[in-house]
């Protein structure tokens, strides 16, 4: 329990840091951010949009500290400001349209890649210098060296554009409307997801596999493994309950950091496939200099990653009895 509380405190600090960075960054721009943004738009911005920008940044003549507390207050009410590109929609509303798709795509791909990578790592370490152990690590390292979105470009070009096996863009067929009850819709979602998801899996699986393999190799030389062998336990049991369970712990710990990385890659992958998730919104925001949307995305994605890490920590407590003390 103490472990979880400590982690919770850490996430609170991380959230506070990102909130504060988000608050100060626009104020570091020379002059007042709203005017600076206005200048960048070269007059394409309507006056009410500037007003809303001012309001979104809480810009006033009040002292900085007061502005800061006003900012925190409006965030706690869920007000992230008004998007410029989708004026006059609230940033939160814009983000919520993409959130589900990113969670679906990146979440699923990450879970699959973590699971598969670890299983491959376990088998690779167990059959050391076997076919899997000698072929997979260098191959996956090479694939992992490609930028995520480049893999996506290649896959899109060869498998979707040339071969025509997969749909080219979007999360579901344009002819359908969102209806999670209908089988055709779900089928369409799945067929649109296969290619982007496999790109993310392919690019991220190598890290998990190598991490697992290297810890497994270390653990297999521990005395308690020899002891388990001497007791005549079944190989399956030694492999999974004795070695793999312990080797999994460092990988679970590094999951948190990797999550941010994988998410960054999958945001770019979404752009290639014009997948309507957060990555696509991020591109829209960058293209249109939609600062409130960019900042809202930064905060939302950070909070999502922190939340996911908390879930992983709960899993960790379940995996590692030592933390339950």
């Amino acid at each position: 329990m103490r472990f979880l509380l400590r982690r919770l405190g850490f996430y609170a600090v991380a959230a506070w840091v990102s909130l504060t960075v988000n608050f100060y960054l626009p104020r570091l721009m020379p002059g007042d951010p709203a005017s600076a943004i206005f200048a960048r738009f070269q007059g394409r911005l309507r006056p009410e949009e500037i007003d809303s920008l001012r309001k979104a940044y809480g810009l006033s003549d009040a002292p900085l500290l007061e502005q800061y507390f006003n900012y925190l207050r409006s965030l706690s009410r869920g007000e992230f400001g008004i998007s410029i590109n989708f004026f006059p929609a609230q940033v939160t509303d814009v983000i919520s349209t993409g959130f589900m798709w990113t969670i679906l795509l990146a979440g699923l791909a990450t879970v699959i890649s973590f699971f598969l990578g670890n299983v491959l790592g376990i088998i690779g370490a167990w059959r050391r210098n076997g076919i899997l152990d000698s072929v997979a690590p260098p191959l996956l390292t090479f694939i992992g060296a490609f930028p995520y979105f480049f893999l996506a470009m290649i896959a899109l070009y060869f498998l979707a554009f040339q071969a025509g096996w997969f749909p080219l863009r979007h999360a579901y067929s344009d002819a359908l409307s969102v209806d999670w009850g209908s089988l055709t819709f779900i089928k369409s979602v799945i067929s649109h997801m296969i290619l982007p998801a496999s790109c993310i899996v392919l690019a991220s699986i190598g890290g998990w596999m190598l991490g697992m393999r290297n810890t497994m190799v270390g653990i297999l030389s521990e005395d308690y493994i020899t002891m388990a062998q001497a007791k005549g336990l079944s190989q399956q049991r030694i492999m999974f309950s004795y070695a793999a369970r312990n080797a999994l712990l460092p990988n679970v710990t590094s999951f948190g950091m990797a999550l941010g990385f994988v998410l960054s890659g999958s945001l770019l992958t979404e752009i290639i496939f014009a997948y309507p998730g957060l990555g696509y919104l991020l591109l829209q925001a960058v293209r249109n200099l939609d600062y409130p949307l960019m900042q809202g995305l930064f905060l939302m994605i950070t909070f999502a990653v922190l939340g996911a890490n908390l879930l992983v920590d709960i899993l960790y407590v379940w995996l590692d009895p030592r933390t339950r003390r």
């Binding site: 050391r128 060296a145 490609f146 948190g256 960054s264």
Partner: protein, 334 residues
């Protein structure tokens, strides 16, 4: 190799004196490095790219941004379309009629410069923070470690995007932004290394003999971390090359410059995929991946050479006992 270093080194020295490179006997690490296949693969690929970047004006003379005249191209390509590779243009032209090969060669300059600068800058920053945290301990360590872990957990790409968006676009901004987001990992690695070094006797000896803290840090601790330092520099460079490409791809760098990232940006913007112009993005991606792969191989090699555990593993697996420890235990046969 690890069990009795003096003896093995002596025998290795005798061995090398037979070969033509006796001077290498004094540099066991360098020798191990030259013998390592992964290291050599990584070094040769990186050497190739660095040479290409340096010799760009001779390999592909001309301005990479120049729009080539389309008159000599086949009539089918006269329209505003990229042309595939051929005799005149080795790798074809882009949607704006620029020579892909020339762009690739010139683009390596900016991409490698950004990558290496970030690699060096973020490792130095990370080392300073990691050393301070690990050596001083106490509340300094608590604060710095907290900061490091916070930086590690905040997702990189969205943070990069808002940082880059609020600053003036350009290579300097990119290097700065990537350094700000990239120092945390080296700092963490350095800190744990310092913690393990601090417990060593020779550090205690210099503390007792009254040496000042900066001196202990820089002439006792730091030299013993050179492999970790180089390792995290290589790692940071890989990160920087990838992140730079990602930022450029989003259009957050100066897209008027020629780098591997902006090439991908233009390929995507001109719908290189959906017009079937694969040559506008495949060669670039392969170059990026080759660089990242080479640097990763270099890091694995460094790890193998300096980490006794991995070295021992390699030796046992290459020796008589080719199978894992557990598998030769006779009890398991059922």
């Amino acid at each position: 190799m690890q069990a009795s270093p003096e003896k093995t080194l002596a025998s290795k020295a005798a061995e090398t004196s037979k070969t033509s490179r006796p001077w290498l006997a004094h540099w066991p690490l360098l020798r191990a490095f030259l013998r390592n296949r992964k290291a050599m693969l990584g070094v040769s690929i990186m050497f190739f790219f660095v040479m290409v970047a340096l010799l760009a004006p001779w390999i592909a003379p001309g301005n990479p941004k120049k729009m080539e005249s389309r008159a000599h191209l086949a009539p089918a390509w006269i329209a505003d379309k990229p042309a595939p590779g051929g005799k005149t243009f080795l790798l074809g032209t882009t949607g704006q009629g620029q020579d892909v090969f020339r762009q690739l060669v010139w683009g390596s300059r900016l991409s490698l410069t950004v990558g290496l600068s970030v690699g060096i800058a973020s490792t130095i920053l990370g080392t300073i923070i990691g050393l301070t945290a690990g050596y001083l301990g106490g509340w300094v360590d608590d604060v710095l470690s907290l900061l490091t872990n916070v930086m590690l957990i905040i997702p990189g790409m969205p943070l990069l995007v808002i940082l880059a968006a609020f600053l003036k676009p350009g290579p300097v901004t990119v290097v700065m932004v990537l350094t700000i987001t990239g120092w945390a990992w080296p700092a963490r690695v350095m800190r744990s290394q310092v913690l393990s070094l601090r417990a060593k006797d020779f550090i205690a000896a210099s503390v007792v003999s009254g040496e000042r803290t900066p001196r202990i840090l820089f002439s006792e601790v730091l030299p013993n971390m050179s492999s970790v330092f180089v390792g995290s520099m290589v790692g940071s460079t890989v990160y920087a090359i990838g992140a730079d490409v990602g930022l450029a791809f989003l259009g957050l760098t100066d897209v008027g410059t020629t780098s591997w990232g902006t090439m991908l940006y233009w390929a995507q913007n001109n719908a290189g995929i959906l017009t079937g112009a694969w040559w506008t993005f495949v060669p670039v991606g392969i170059c990026i991946a080759l660089c990242a792969f080479a640097l990763t191989m270099l890091n694995y090699a460094l790890d193998e050479i300096t980490n006794p555990r991995l070295r021992a593993e390699k030796e046992t697996t290459h020796g008589k006992r080719s199978r894992a420890n557990v598998l030769v235990t006779p009890v398991i046969r059922k």
